[in-house]
């Protein structure tokens, strides 16, 4: 396209400066607010997923294929040390940890309650979850191995419920491999402030070897948990784990915590409704600008067609104007929001009051995290630009039907 077309389109934009500034400004703010909103939403959700994955399922977990439907020791898998070592080397895998999980009845004194015992490798889990920093004063994470009793680190709420203190004994009874009764007797090393009250009320961590012994599952685990690098593509990590453990199932966090995924999808849907309303308002704003522009320039269009400008050529020229208008707003909006988000990524908004307490109670950092991912920028910019380009179709219709004599006299 010749430079004169661009010149013409660009200069036409500025024939009515105030209107162009207002219209481009509306696209600017639409992109700005939509990107900020989505960035905060994805940031909060990302952090929530991260926290849940760390404490619970991991980003990807290798399990026996039947374990998800029927989580019993019988659907465990044999731990292959060589494969585990290979899994550690997978691109994007930050930590790969074996776990053995079982539901048992726990008791202390005359109190008992169902709990989830998780056999872990303490050092590996601590590197991911920083458990040592969450041990309630007076206890410890896992101490030096002692010959008398295996150790357990108990969720603080569970400890309170059972009246446990460091040094007390916790009894468990459950079902081991192939249905054998599994009795356990553990000395409480410390109480763990898990933040999440639900997890705090039901989790008991023991060393993996002790769990294997208690459940008669020597050499077996219920899952191999993988924490992925934040930049990694989870589906790639999943595929690599699946290739490494061909007889087992490598499942994503979303398969393992469908409730969480549905909750997040529900909240995202709410966001989309707000964005839809925002886009609708912006769309009508753009449309009214184009309507006015077409109405004001009827005569000019009539004259241009009279002197030999093809209707398609003219339509392309007007479409270019509307596209430039949209691009102007979208481009400036995207450029402005990027440093804004970078700032709040480096200096997150610190939550105050009840929200802060709530976050701390759940063991979450009391901040409003943002996510800076190209797809957020691209999606919002594409929607606003798409609207501009859709609105730009209206002049095509008008120009196709334009009566040049009436228009020239208007």
């Amino acid at each position: 396209m010749n430079a004169l077309w661009w010149t013409l389109a660009w200069r036409n934009l500025w024939r009515n400066k105030r209107r162009t500034v207002i219209t481009a400004g509306s696209a600017f703010f639409a992109v700005f607010f939509a990107v900020v909103m989505q960035s905060v939403t994805y940031g909060v959700f990302g952090k929530m997923i991260e926290d849940m994955a760390r404490l619970s399922t991991g980003h990807v977990q290798v399990q026996d294929s039947l374990y998800l439907a029927e989580p019993t020791p019988d659907h465990s898998l044999e731990l292959d040390a060589a494969r585990l070592a290979e899994a550690q080397k997978i691109d994007g895998a930050m930590a790969v940890m074996p776990r053995l999980e079982a539901i048992v009845l726990a008791s202390s004194g005359d109190r008992s309650t169902p709990v989830q015992v998780i056999g872990i490798e303490p050092a590996a889990e601590d590197s991911v979850n920083r458990f040592t920093e969450r041990i309630r004063s007076g206890g410890q994470y896992f101490g030096e191995p002692r010959a008398d009793l295996p150790e357990a680190v108990v969720g603080a709420a569970l400890g309170d419920q059972l009246g446990l203190s460091p040094g007390d004994t916790l009894f468990t009874i459950g079902q081991g491999y192939h249905g054998v009764p599994a009795y356990g007797r553990f000395r409480v090393a410390g109480l763990l402030e898990l933040g999440n009250p639900e997890l705090s009320k039901r989790l008991v961590y023991v060393q993996l070897a002790d769990a294997q012994h208690a459940f008669r599952m020597e050499g077996r685990v219920t899952g191999v948990v993988c924490m992925a690098d934040p930049a990694a593509d989870l589906e790639d990590v999943q595929a690599e784990l699946a290739a490494l453990f061909p007889d087992q199932a490598a499942r994503l966090w979303s398969d393992l915590m469908p409730d969480l995924e549905q909750t997040l999808e529900g909240k995202l849907a709410g966001n989309y409704i707000i964005l839809f309303i925002l886009y609708l308002i912006i769309g009508f704003g753009l449309f009214s600008t184009v309507l006015m522009m077409m109405s004001e320039r009827q005569k000019e269009f009539g004259i241009l067609i009279s002197v030999g400008t093809g209707r398609r050529t003219l339509a392309a020229m007007v479409y270019l104007e509307v596209a430039l208008l949209g691009l102007l707003g979208v481009g400036l909006g995207s450029l402005a929001v990027w440093p804004f988000l970078e700032y709040f990524d480096a200096n997150p908004v610190q939550l105050r009051g009840d929200l802060r307490e709530l976050h701390e109670q759940y063991g979450l950092e009391p901040i409003l995290p943002v996510m800076i991912e190209p797809f957020i920028f691209f999606n919002q910019a594409a929607v606003v630009l798409g609207m501009a380009l859709t609105v730009g179709l209206y002049p095509l219709r008008v120009l196709k039907r334009l009566d040049i004599l009436k228009a020239s006299r208007s």
Binding site: L4, L8, K299, E300, G308, T309, G310, R311, L405, S408
Partner: protein
């Protein structure tokens, strides 16, 4: 004028009827007209006599309800909308009463625009634009936007724009109506010179006695019919 020349414009029995409420208004009524290359013709007549309608029919901006228009050997009745636009672009130059330049383009760019539509090369566009600006006496004002030019200067740019496509003829609808006497004379000088030096055919619709005085042929319309045709 050579009588053996083929007419550049021929109308045969053209009529144009408009519906005005329940009444049919015949704006042009069975007009036969031939214009030869190099003519400097004025279409005159009182308001409502059909001058502008006839000009629109000759320019392919409107279609006759009866009769035919032949321009440079091409029967306009046979052309569809897109072909007609292309035909106008390459064969007819237009000058309007209100100049109607593109306000955001400079004088030179307004002239170049037509050649751009014709897909002329950049070099040809530049050369011809400069020549046309010179022809209309505005070689130093090529960069000026229409709002920076006087009415007379804008109309000169409009003439240059009309000539940019190397048309067979120029149709000018009341070209001096918005100009003061001195500016109108000056514009007529330019058009007369182009007619004389380059043989460009001009057809005006006008009320302006100054234009009528300069025209070498005056066709008078009354009630959509040719009342007189004086050379």
């Amino acid at each position: 004028m050579n009588s053996n020349q083929q007419p550049v414009i021929t109308t045969r029995g053209i009529s144009r009827t408009y519906q005005q409420g329940p009444v049919d208004v015949r704006a042009v009524d069975g007009v036969d007209l031939s214009i030869l290359p190099g003519e400097f013709t004025a279409l005159v007549g009182p308001s409502g006599s059909g001058k502008t309608t006839l000009l629109n029919l000759i320019g392919g901006l409107d279609r006759p309800t009866a009769g035919e228009v032949v321009i440079d050997g091409t029967r306009l009745n046979d052309l569809d909308e897109n072909a007609l636009i292309q035909f106008r672009l390459h064969h007819i130059g237009f000058v309007f009463q209100a100049y109607n330049l593109i306000p955001v383009l400079s004088a030179a760019e307004n002239i170049e625009f037509i050649m751009l539509l014709q897909k002329a090369s950049a070099k040809e566009r530049r050369t011809r634009t400069q020549q046309l600006l010179k022809d209309v006496g505005l070689e130093k004002l090529g960069h000026a936007r229409p709002t920076q030019l006087s009415g007379g200067q804008q109309q000169r740019v409009a003439v240059a724009r009309a000539l940019a496509s190397k048309p067979a003829f120029v149709l000018a609808d009341e070209p001096t109506a918005n100009l003061d006497s001195h500016t109108a004379e000056s514009l007529l000088d330019v058009m007369e010179q182009l007619n004389r030096d380059e043989g460009m055919t001009f057809v005006f619709s006008t009320h302006d006695p100054r234009v009528i005085a300069r025209a070498r042929r005056v066709v008078t319309l009354v009630d959509g019919r040719i009342d007189s045709d004086e050379a």
